[in-house]
Symmetry: C2
Subunit: 222 residues, 2 copies
Amino acid sequence: MAVETLGSRESTRSKNMAKRRETILREARTLIADEGFEALKIRDLAARAGLTVPTIYNLVGGKNEILAVIIEEMVVQLRAIQNAADIDPVEESFAKLINDLADHFATDEAFFRAAFIAGDRSGLFEQSSGEGIFAHFVQQPIEACARAVEEGLLRGQISPAVLGPQIYGCYRLARQDWANGYFDLDGFRKQALIGVFLCLASDAKPAFRERLMDRIASLSNG
Amino acid sequence: MAVETLGSRESTRSKNMAKRRETILREARTLIADEGFEALKIRDLAARAGLTVPTIYNLVGGKNEILAVIIEEMVVQLRAIQNAADIDPVEESFAKLINDLADHFATDEAFFRAAFIAGDRSGLFEQSSGEGIFAHFVQQPIEACARAVEEGLLRGQISPAVLGPQIYGCYRLARQDWANGYFDLDGFRKQALIGVFLCLASDAKPAFRERLMDRIASLSNG
DNA sequence: GTTTAAATTTAAACATCGTTTAATTCTTGT
DNA sequence: ACAAGAATTAAACGATGTTTAAATTTAAAC
């Protein structure tokens, strides 16, 4: 595991260590983007970073620790994007979130694809920052559905506790299918949005339902 | 790869080989069920089967070939279950399929969980029996939706080509979440069925929609 | 400025695993 | 019974994650 005193003082030593640590993580991200986390070899990483193998163990840790650090940073970014998407009206909130995520993934598509695959496989998303990231991210669609009921958009015949996870599931599945290469980022956008709007439509009052149908229609064609 | 002439004649030799091959595959299934495919070690497998390592390579193949054989057998079973579920009315067809699948998984839950995880990760489902199992399995919900439109259950406002994959997606996600341990087999049943009925409800005419809402309500509570 | 102690980096080795090779053993057809 | 061929085996190979113990570098004390 990484050393405790890392950067605790502004000594030359700790500054160099922090810099080396950043180099390791940067090169790790590059290598993961190139060939996936499974193909990341510690010796390759050491060579790319201009260091030796035990240094990596000293400054960051083994493969799992490297992945954990990278996933943790990614989760922080995802949280920020989700928090920025809390707007009205409801369907715009979902659309903004998914588009923002797609835009963010596009900044380094190969890396994010590999990171999501590795994160899903390692179960790291569920442990990240202590209390299940899943439970945290599903909260927003649940609350959005509850608001939509209050605003008279949804009938409320299906409880937000049921509808919210379904909506989150549509996003998760689209993200997985994109990460696994079944379609590209535009496919992710379309698939996720159609799924979300479909879920909403199942409990939507007529006027809201028509708005959703228009959106789905334009997504299906365009 | 396995030898071509395996069991081609009823000689003592080929019968013994076939028997050994079955032993290998049976022990492989047990070990995979116990700790997952990644944890399956060829040396352990050889010891459990009372053979040596190269014999396994001779009779079945390496890790990937072992998995491929096991997945292939599983896919055959899944196809049979799906073909048996083609009944009326539409929502009963989906309910029967999902319940049949859950019953089948229950016969060896640990094995099926591990097999689905391994199959998803290796991309083997997509190559199985030549032409993408995904494309094959999604065909049924598409056709079921088309029939439901003709029968006046669905409005047809959302094309079966859009609704079908969404329905199949609900089943896939529920299966994954079960395989990853997020809920048990009963959770799989509920989650998959609620998802499917929700998708149908988004395009259902009023009477059919009420039937679906009743089913969802009883699934959410019971 | 020199010395000392701690911490970091390094070269080398260890352990495990999938896979292959070359020799041995066994079955089968004559 | 015997020769040919096929299956099985013991042993080794190559790759990879990880750790150990020695060498090196750094920061502080005198």
